[in-house]
Every structure is written in C-alpha cells, then in structure tokens.
C-alpha cells in the first residue's frame, strides 16, 4: 500500500492504577480512511483515543502523526469528546462553543476575531445548526449538542479527526447527518477515527475497522476483516446472528 500513514501507534500500554487498560497496541492508520474502533465496554476504546491525543499519559509507547511526534503535529488533529464529558449547563452559547475550535490555532492570549467567527458560523451551517447559534447550550437537545461538538472540530480544519462515540444518544436523522459529514471529510482526503458501538452499521458507514479489547485484535479494511471470527475474538461470544443480514 503506498498511501501515507496518518497515525502510527507503537507498543502503547496504558494502565489505571494496576489494571492495564490497553496492552501493547501497535496500530497503523492509513491516510484517508473512515475508521471505526469497536470493542466491548471497558475495552479501552476511549482510552486509546485519549492516549493518542495526550490526554492520558501512557506507561509506554509512542504516537506519531505523519511520522512526527504528536506534540509537533497538534494542529493537524481535531477531537470530538464524548458528549457527556462536559457540563452542558455551562453559561455559554452554541456559537461560543464552536469558536473554541479556533483557540488552538490562535494560541495563547490572542482573542478570536471576525475571521474566526466567520469560520465558526460556516461550521455551524455545515452541521445544520446555524439557526441555533445564540442558543444557550443547555437548551439544545442531545443530538444538537453532538452537532455543536462536531462543528467545533470542523472549525479546527484538521487532517485527522478523532471522535468518541459521536452517535451516542442521537436520533436517526442526526446520525444520518453526522455520517454524511464524516463521509464528506473522507472525500476531502481527511482521516476520521470514530469510537463506535453499533456493529450493525459498521459495514455501511466505515471502510476501515479496528477491533479492540485491551489488546488489538485486528485492524484493516472492513470488507476483509469485519467477520464473525474477529467479532467473536473481540466480544467473546458468537456474533453470527447479530451480523448476518
């Protein structure tokens, strides 16, 4: 394969206290894929993303983004955290949250100006939330909050997007809207990595998949490796019934 490697993870091991959460993960994610990370609860899916992004400090291992250490490549990476990770009663508006996506490129102290505002409004429009720009964030529905988070990542204008369960608790319409944006990102040559729970939709939404359960079980194109064998290895029970369509 001659496409570039967007994310390279080597020997990544993470532990909370004594219990290993991720064990010796090696992972190469090629540029331009839309990848799902699947695995049971407690498999370390979120932890994997968080350690790649430097939110969690691993015990061992290295992370490279386009062949350079992550710290030097931050501007190439955008992150959509789990919706539940923040307090939505925080006193701020939808537009304000999206503007936060511009803070990284602004750096310390400098304030966002007209240019940043324009980019944020465009991102809001892309996720279909322009009409809600001045809405207090607690007054948004779960799906709308998720779209705001997505818009905040879009405004970062990155090459690689990490998303932690963007489909959690959203209805079918929002799920469709989000996956369309993700597919557009892929079309634009971006790499999108998504922690995903719904195994049924993996073949439809994604072209790349990583099976994770503390250890990496398998990673590769969905059409090659998304099979009963890998599912059984990852989840420990036979998945034939669930996946056979």
């Amino acid at each position: 394969m001659d496409t570039a490697i967007a994310v390279q993870v080597d020997d990544l091991t993470v532990a909370y206290n004594y219990k290993p959460v991720l064990w010796d993960i090696d992972l190469s994610i090629p540029e331009g894929v839309l990848m799902a990370i699947v695995g049971p609860n407690g498999a370390g899916k979120s932890t994997l993303i968080k350690s790649i992004l430097g939110i969690i400090k691993p015990i061992a291992g290295s992370i490279q983004i386009y062949k350079k250490p992550y710290k030097k490549q931050r501007s190439l990476v955008a992150y959509v955290p789990q919706k539940g990770s923040v307090d939505w009663d925080f006193p701020t508006t939808a537009l304000d949250v999206v503007m936060m996506g511009t803070y990284g490129s602004l750096g310390w102290i400098k304030r966002p100006g007209q240019k940043e505002k324009k980019a944020s409004l465009e991102a809001l429009e892309k996720v279909g939330m322009l009409g809600f720009k001045n809405r207090q964030i607690s007054q948004l529905s779960g799906g709308q909050q998720q779209r705001i988070f997505l818009a905040r990542a879009l405004v970062q204008n990155a090459s690689i997007y990490f998303m932690d369960e963007p489909f959690q608790g959203v209805d079918a319409t929002t799920e469709k809207a989000i996956i369309n944006i993700l597919k557009e990102l892929r079309k634009a040559g971006k790499t999108v990595i998504v922690v995903h729970h719904d195994l049924q939709t993996v073949p439809e939404y994604f072209d790349w998949v990583t099976f994770l359960n503390v250890k990496k079980i398998a990673t590769g194109p969905v059409k090659d490796i998304f099979n009963d064998d890998n599912l059984t290895k990852t989840y420990g029970i036979n998945y034939k019934v669930a996946i056979n369509k």
Partner: protein, 376 residues
C-alpha cells in the same frame, strides 16, 4: 450607632470608610474568582482551603509573637496552599474520592489550628487577644494597609482573568479538549487555584475561617441565575459580592460590632435566595408560572383538536354539535370551553357548540406546529 448614622459616617469617618472599602473589594474578588470555583465544581475546595489556613495564622503568631495581619496572611497562604496540594495528592495517589479528601484535610487542619489557638490563649501574653476573631471575622480590625493589599491583589487577578480569559473559559468548559489544543492545563489550573487560595486568605480577617467559602460561592451561585454568559456572570458575581460586603459590614457595625462574617454571609444568602426565586429564566417563580401556563395552553389545545376531529367529519365545519359529547373528553371543562369562545375559536349557542373558521385553521395548524417545533 444605628444604620442611619453609619451611612452618614461612611462618607466622613476615615476608619469606617476603610472598612467599607475593604469589604467591598473583598466581596468583588471573591465573587469574581468564586464563579470559577463554582463552574469547576470545586465549591468545597474553598471551604477546605479556608479551614486549612487556620494553623498557618496560629503558627505565624507563635513565631512573631504579635498580631500583624500581613504576616498572618502569609502564614495562612502557606498553610492554605499546603492543604490544597495535599488534597490534590490524596485524590491522585489514593482511591479516595475528592469529597473524602476535602473533608479529611478540612477537619485535620482546622483541628490542628484550634489546638494551637487554645494553646496560645493559655499562654501569658497580652497580645493574643482577638486572635480568635479569625474564626468568624471582624471587619473592624481592617487597616488601610490591609485594604491596599486587597486592592492590589484584586487588580492583579482581574488582569490575569482578562489576559487568560479565553484559555480559562475553555478549561472550565472542557479541560480534555483544552489539552488537545496544546494549552498547558496544569499551568492554568494552578493559576486559577492559586488566585482562589489568595482570595480566601484575604477574606479570613473580615469573614473568618469558618464561613469564608460562602463568600466565594454565594455571589457566584446568585449570579448564575441571571445570565447565560460567563462574562456577565463574573461581573454580576463581583457586584453581588461587593454589595454583600458593604451591607454586611454596615449591619454588623451598626449593631454593637457583631462578628462580620456571619452577617456578610447572611446578606449574600439573601442575594442567593432572591435570585433562586425571582430570576426570570431559571428562577423558581417564573418557572412555575411558565409551567402552569403551558399546561393550561396544552389542555386548551387538546380540547380544540378534539373538536377539530369532530367538526372535520362534517362537510360544513361550522356545523353545531352538542356540548354533551365533549364530556367524555379528558381535559374538557366549562372553563376551557369559555376560553376557546373568548379566543373566537368556537361559538356557543345554548348547549350546542360550533367551530369558527379561525378555530378550524388554528386547530389544523396545531399538529404541524407540534411536529415542527420539536427538537430534531
């Protein structure tokens, strides 16, 4: 001295002006930084820090042997910071939850402080008198020097807030995300925590160890009720804090020098209570009013749409029907029928009702409205 005399004196009496200015500035800085403590869900940290500073004051007295509020301030600051870092250490290094760590440090440090205080009081030293006023605060002991320190610290923290506003806001809302954007969250965290500790320590002389945390939290909690913008919240909290300080001191000075701490805190409590009830968006009163109105409207709409279903079975929509058939419908009352007539949606003729054109159109639109206004 009564309240009226006090107000007259504030403008003429030097001491009183100093004290009033001091408590106002103190209230402002506490409200400002308290907003951050509240939004970071670190409300209890303030309580732990203020209690943890007591041994520092006592040790500072033991070392220098006289009362000197500036030296006490440094003692309190050191022991407050030690307490804070121990709390963080306990949370990080053990399996204990933050409430346990806070409670533990709070009572241990406070207990040690009280021990030292009683030890000091047993000693033959005339200078010790008044040291216990640090428990509940005594604004009357404020000197011009103390007020200057407050003003300087407040200005510095205001400056810091303005400079790092964007970063601090981001940290408050989403600290993980802040990290991924490349900001040093540890630095920001230490910065804001240090200033919270400083604000608490500044207030000890006036409000006292025991109640200081309320000074931090009450104005912020009240301010949150009135606004959905962080900047407005911080400004309002500063204002509420300053007013609590001024009124609290005025009342306490007017009534035979009551301990200032409890009075200021009670005044701040009045702000909180008022805000919880009367703020237009989040207040209990207007929420209840909105709730009742919505319920009444909904009942009315239900009746109207039920009538719509009946009327639409006829070619002529204004065809009269017996009121009796509405009786089976849940939510129907004479009053709601009357209201519908007042709105010109239906006509009543004896014991018959008929729908008007307007009523028919409104009812037809109801369903569309319901589905359209629903959140996606």
């Amino acid at each position: 001295m009564n309240l009226k005399e006090y107000i007259e004196l504030v403008f003429t009496d030097y001491t009183l002006r100093t004290i009033t200015l001091g408590t106002a500035v103190l209230g402002a800085i506490c409200g400002m930084l308290g907003s951050f403590a509240v939004l970071r869900k670190q409300s209890l940290l303030g309580d732990a820090i203020s209690h943890a500073s007591l041994p520092g004051i006592a040790i500072a007295f033991l070392i220098i042997g006289t009362k000197n509020s500036s030296v006490f301030l440094i003692g309190a600051l050191i022991s407050g910071l030690v307490g804070t870092f121990w709390i963080r250490g306990i949370i990080r290094k053990t399996h204990l939850k933050s409430d346990t760590a806070l409670g533990l440090i709070l009572s241990l440090f406070f207990g040690f402080g009280m021990l030292l205080l009683t030890y000091i009081q047993k000693r033959p030293n005339a200078n010790q008198a008044g040291l216990e006023s640090y428990l509940f605060g005594q604004a009357a002991t404020l000197l011009e020097n103390d007020v200057w320190i407050m003003v300087i610290v407040t200005s510095i923290s205001l400056l810091i807030l303005l400079i790092f506003w964007k970063e601090l806001k981001l940290l408050l809302f989403d600290s993980d995300y802040t990290k991924t954007l490349g900001f040093n969250t540890k630095f920001l965290d230490i910065l804001i925590t240090t200033f919270i500790v400083i604000a608490i320590v500044l207030g000890l002389q006036t409000v006292g160890v025991v109640l200081m945390s309320a000074m931090l939290l009450a104005p912020a909690a009240a301010a949150r009720q009135w606004t959905n913008s962080l900047s407005v919240m911080v400004i309002l909290a500063a204002l509420f804090g300053a007013l609590s300080g001024v009124f609290g001191t005025a009342i306490s000075a007017s009534y035979n020098n009551l301990s200032t701490g409890p009075v200021i805190v009670l005044v701040a409590g009045v702000f909180v209570l008022f805000s919880f009830i009367f703020s237009p968006q989040r207040g209990l009163l207007f929420r209840e009013i909105r709730f009742r109105k919505n319920r009444r409207d909904l009942k009315l709409h239900k009746t109207l749409s039920f009538m719509y279903d009946i009327a639409s079975t006829h070619e002529n929509i204004t065809h009269p029907h017996a009121i009796r058939i509405l009786n089976n419908f849940q939510g129907f009352t004479k009053k709601s029928l009357q209201e519908l007539e007042d709105k010109n949606y239906v006509k009543i003729d004896g014991n018959m009702w008929s729908m008007t054109e307007i009523g028919y159109k409104t009812a037809a639109n109801l369903y569309n409205q319901l589905t359209n206004s629903k959140d996606e």
